[in-house]
Symmetry: C2
Subunit: 118 residues, 2 copies
DNA sequence: ATGATATTTCGACTATTATGGAAACATGGA
DNA sequence: TCCATGTTTCCATAATAGTCGAAATATCAT
């Protein structure tokens, strides 16, 4: 991951298929999902899926890990956190503007991506 | 504004120039800024600026209001709020994952866009 | 009216992104 | 080794997005 700027992250998520992939991975949790399962779930042909997975990986929103002959992808929560933090800072100039997002424990409930921290 | 989905909002912000425009408008506050001033500030030629302003308006992230021969644009905070809320929901599945955004008053500090609510 | 200024629309062009079949590249199992 | 499977890369193509000069439109001032 080469510290992409906010616009790059936003653009990466600004595509229906990629956003769906990301959502699926968040939903899947730290376990992650194998690429082909994502393709099945979203009905994307292998080449197209690979293209989008590569894009999301490049900007650091997801991470893939080889697992025998599969590749298991999982969401990189930290990157998303940074993005949300950026938007929040940017939208509110420091003050919070999130009436809809009342949950605000500062818990560092860090999820480990399966096999992270090698 | 025709209820754009998250991907559309993300894509709109996923461009360096548009993100800069939006940031500028947030910084400017409820007053907003006149289009030409944005162009001066960011060094964008009129046609290009107009294109991006139209895009941001279309998805409801900004709003323009004619003011004699100028058009004064201001950020639509509500739309951004919704986007952040969506991402937060989506990133965290309900639980907060925002260690960096500790400010969390639920104040409905609603900013009125100059001349809003007509 | 005429001219100056602000903004958009038009139009032509360039650049970037997306799509997906087919071939190549693993990897695991018989 | 040979085949089946998962994934990527290659490639050609299609589709979309971005750029910006110039013309059009709007509004104000004189």
């Amino acid at each position: 991951m080469e510290t992409p700027n906010a616009a790059e992250l936003l653009a990466a998520l600004g595509h229906e298929s990629r956003l769906s992939v990301f959502r699926l991975l968040v939903e899947a949790g730290p376990e992650g999902i194998v690429a082909s399962a994502i393709g099945d779930r979203l009905g994307l042909p292998p080449a197209t899926l690979s293209f989008h997975l590569a894009h999301l990986s490049r900007v650091g929103l997801i991470r893939g890990q080889k697992e025998s002959r599969f590749i298991r992808y999982c969401a990189e929560y930290a990157t998303m956190d940074e993005l949300i933090a950026y938007l929040t800072r940017n939208c509110c100039q420091g003050a919070s503007c999130l009436p809809k997002t009342a949950t605000c424990d500062t818990i560092a409930k860090r999820r480990q991506c399966a096999g992270e921290g090698a």
